[in-house]
Symmetry: C2
Subunit: 685 residues, 2 copies
Amino acid sequence: MEKNIFGFIVFCAFLLMQNLPILALTTTSLDLMPVPQEIKVINSEGFRLDAGFSVALDGYADARLYKAATRMLRRLSGRTGLFFPQDYITAKSNPTMPQMIIKTSRIGDLVVGEDESYQLTITENQVTLKAETDIGALRGLETFLQLLSVDEKGYYFPAVVINDAPRFPWRGLLIDVSRHFMPVEVIKRNLDGMAAVKMNVFHWHLADDQGFRVECQSWPKLHELGSDGFYYTRAQIKEIIAYAANRGIRVIPEFDVPAHATSWLVAYPELGSAPGPYSLERRWGIKDPIMDPTKEFTYEFLDKFFAEMAALFPDEYFHIGGDENNGNHWNTNDHIQQFMKDNNIPDNHALQTYFNKRILQILTKYGKKMIGWDEIFQPTLPADIIIHSWRGSEALVKSAQQGYMGILSNGYYIDLIQPAEYHYRNDPIPENTSLTEEEQKRILGGEATSWGELVTYETIDSRIWPRTAAIAERLWSPQSCNGIEDMYRRLEVVSFQLEELGLTHIKNYDMMLRRLTNNHNIAALKTFVDVVEPVKRYERLLQEITYTSYSPYTRVVDAARPESMTARRFSQLVDQFIENPKAPASHELTDLLKIWENNHSFLKPIIAKSPVLQEIETMSADLQELAETGLLAVRAYRKHKRLSRKQIESARAVLEKAKKPRGQVELMVIAPIEKLVLAAISNQK
Amino acid sequence: MEKNIFGFIVFCAFLLMQNLPILALTTTSLDLMPVPQEIKVINSEGFRLDAGFSVALDGYADARLYKAATRMLRRLSGRTGLFFPQDYITAKSNPTMPQMIIKTSRIGDLVVGEDESYQLTITENQVTLKAETDIGALRGLETFLQLLSVDEKGYYFPAVVINDAPRFPWRGLLIDVSRHFMPVEVIKRNLDGMAAVKMNVFHWHLADDQGFRVECQSWPKLHELGSDGFYYTRAQIKEIIAYAANRGIRVIPEFDVPAHATSWLVAYPELGSAPGPYSLERRWGIKDPIMDPTKEFTYEFLDKFFAEMAALFPDEYFHIGGDENNGNHWNTNDHIQQFMKDNNIPDNHALQTYFNKRILQILTKYGKKMIGWDEIFQPTLPADIIIHSWRGSEALVKSAQQGYMGILSNGYYIDLIQPAEYHYRNDPIPENTSLTEEEQKRILGGEATSWGELVTYETIDSRIWPRTAAIAERLWSPQSCNGIEDMYRRLEVVSFQLEELGLTHIKNYDMMLRRLTNNHNIAALKTFVDVVEPVKRYERLLQEITYTSYSPYTRVVDAARPESMTARRFSQLVDQFIENPKAPASHELTDLLKIWENNHSFLKPIIAKSPVLQEIETMSADLQELAETGLLAVRAYRKHKRLSRKQIESARAVLEKAKKPRGQVELMVIAPIEKLVLAAISNQK
């Protein structure tokens, strides 16, 4: 075993490992994500896992920790098939000779900045997990599970001492349940996924133009008329909050006001700035319906509303949205215009500030602190509000400099289908920051945002995972942990492990392909979809199709993963081949090209029987031509052979043609094939 | 298209089709399951589906039918990728020129024997679904979805007139949530699966030795101490009942008394026949703890309990279990023995009858009718009770003859891992029945039983589906529908369609294999697991491993499907090959054998890295030897070549060795390979 060479303290272990020979990297590096602050690898056999494994708790343990330890035991048993003796770990059932001891000093509170640190020590004979709070212990249990290893003797845990704590106290995931409602189990399994990568804030975007998703006793028409029947009951809200709390996750509700308000106005048109009636929005984009900030009824309504919701949601913070007010209905409402004149309110931004101040009063009355999107920022707010930046880090820097706390979501918009590395490189406090140390402390962290226009309960997991794990690492691990290749290596491992929590990001892929082929053999379709990605950013909404909340999200573009790992691998193989055409990887390169060369002939008859696939037929044919072009270039490059003018022209035409998105997906192997062609041309004798 | 030849009425269409050439069978036969009572296929193009498709309701439609029609539209949109114009189908949104009209006369009641008939007429221009009740319309909508077809012009529905109604009024599925708790979403997706195959009774086995799963206000310790925290809240119970009702499914709760009562006695030991204290049962089998039928407290307790549950569960029937009373704690309790003497109660059976009569009084008081397992039967019960037969159809016949209604579960124990055809052949009223027509009417139907010892939320779907669809057909379709091959053909189609409802029976297979290989390539493991099945009946519980409620159910035996379709196919190929060694199918046969011949060399290195797989290592090696033996026999048979005595002895040894189950799975290709060897021997020149 090569691991003996690791007998010293490493900070951000993988950074160091990148200097080691590749063999050591693949056989001994740890698959932790997020990477802990400090790992000491001990020169020892490690802890051998067998069916005698048992766990005891010590110190101020509560039900949360006992449950978490039991869940850990079940997951370990599930992975290894080992029959452990303990059933439910409770204060009563603590074994006298435990192999693992969990020791905590106090019960953690679900507040910003609570201690989440832990120390995990694994020796040949014992596993010890120590933490100030039980929440810290929960984080340590996830690290422990990620350490499970296998060698020729069986399952073991490497001998390590890990000291860990998060870099940022706010590591969140926003799920928009308004655009597409997400059933309770979708939320629960994503909370489990969050806990697995040590995230601690679930931002629940509960109301928007397309739906109001909470049972409301004070204003029942909100859920009765504003939800199409798809809302969480108060009991379900409590169930989810308890589920999150059991995983050390805070739940921040967002009720976006005054814009994004169609669903409220369907129920209570008297809140609106236009006469109404309103009907539930079925399409996407920024809409006009907005609350009337000049009517006292609006504040009476919201006072009663927030009183109820403040009691339902225990967190100290309440998100009021405040974004994307286009002002149209304010501009065309005479009463509002008169109010602005009478009160010296110069513009809509100032009118919204007036509204926000009234909302702030209400929230304060009910013991809540305010968080809102960029737009709410103005310099007279109290110091404990939080600015949530969706527009960019500049806004964040500015508010931090003026003394306000902030969190970042710009750059973490996972709905825009960017690669994991794009988000991973996005640091809430970049190395070249102009902020002072004091100001930097005001940057609390960030949130990945799963906006709901283009996802359903079938596809949402694949849009959140595994990429969000890279964001979780950015927010937990040291800034210096930034190796892209190693991140991707560990991301694959974590992605697979997330399945044990019920997440469907891997398994729903084949399911969707089966449906697309009408249950024919999915192999050829998979080969194709493996190398496409949905179009990026907002392109999908800007193309010819008009999407609604009830459109089918079951097409190739929905099955396709946000990031093609096959294309990524292919790109690496191309680079390696150009560097050294005789490298062993070149076989893998030509194998891939040959598969693609032949794939269309297998896929074509499937498409003929599946009209839903017709939109990608020409792209499948393009993949074949691309592969032929790639193989031509490979052969030419290898033998320094001249490509004819005609061949070059044809290659260029093939590359150009293939670039056009169809069915709103794009082929991700064009750039590397172009690279191959260029290499072949420049390499001619 | 060959379908023009079907321009006439067929009863039980596939029966007829079996006489047609194979080409017609595979391209034109309908994939309906359960098969309707009557199908008339019309000589016409059928109804072409395009993005203009819309639906209107006519008659006494209620929210249930509007919701069901909307769900149908979404499923159709999801399969085809077509963007239909309608959002939510409501009374208001009814289009003026609908392509599909649904017409019902009244709202159906959720009672035994409610009218579930429907007539579905599909012409070139219109789809018409007529039904007496909305429940009948729900059944028709499922038939409509199963009819979606594809040809070179796109999606269409074949032109048919279907008149349909169930053979039996009681078509149930029992889910045991006591042995392993099943979260709300597991129940919901299985209710969707039931609705898809027209089942109408969800039998909810809610309490047993291992757990009491309902929040109880009158006796709160039941769920507080009897469930490990895994129970349904009253709100969740109501949610599930409403979900079932929306699908035309009745919910029958079972509270098993007086035996199977450990979880009750953990909470209230004063109910027990032994002094206690009791602790929750973690193992399987028939246990001693039983309520004391001689204490008045027992009846006071149950009176209060059933009063609460009778209000919570709206169905007219209440299942009281009553099975598997071993009498041990009664026999050793002096007070009970004295009571029996004092009251001239001769034996434990009579004592249980005394108990049941008291329970019946309570149920009657709260407006409920009683249903219980075989053991409750005795001839003084009122005529509206139902006997639920788990022990055999003899008991059912006997009670029907004595005037009692009955349902059958014997033969439908899907937890015993029998093939679909085993259950399919099991008719509640066999052709040779001795019952009069009057008596036959008392046989209401049957229930598939998913007992919970060996299933978790990960595996339960694969133990229920698709086999339960075959049982659903047995209970809905005419008795004469009994072609095994055609059933299997349609079962595969239905199985795939069940995925769109969220059922995990297909997709969790790969997920479990990924975990078993520790995320290595699963191809080789899949090739192996594809040809094994878990050991049958109660063998798994009788072998060396002691299973508990917290054991890992994540091993090969849990991933393996109850019925290997690969082995089934292989067996057919062997028969075809022996019949005609030059048939095209013989290539498929040798291809399979060659894959198995080489598989172990791929699987061995995976096993080396996955200790959880070691238990099947020798069996994987056996598969290789079996394949070698099979290939030898194939070559010999084809060329009338003599097998040497040594070869024959070696083949026999290989076959014998392979028969031994390991890891509690068994290889399913042994018998056909034995057949090949015998054929080769008898075919020698």
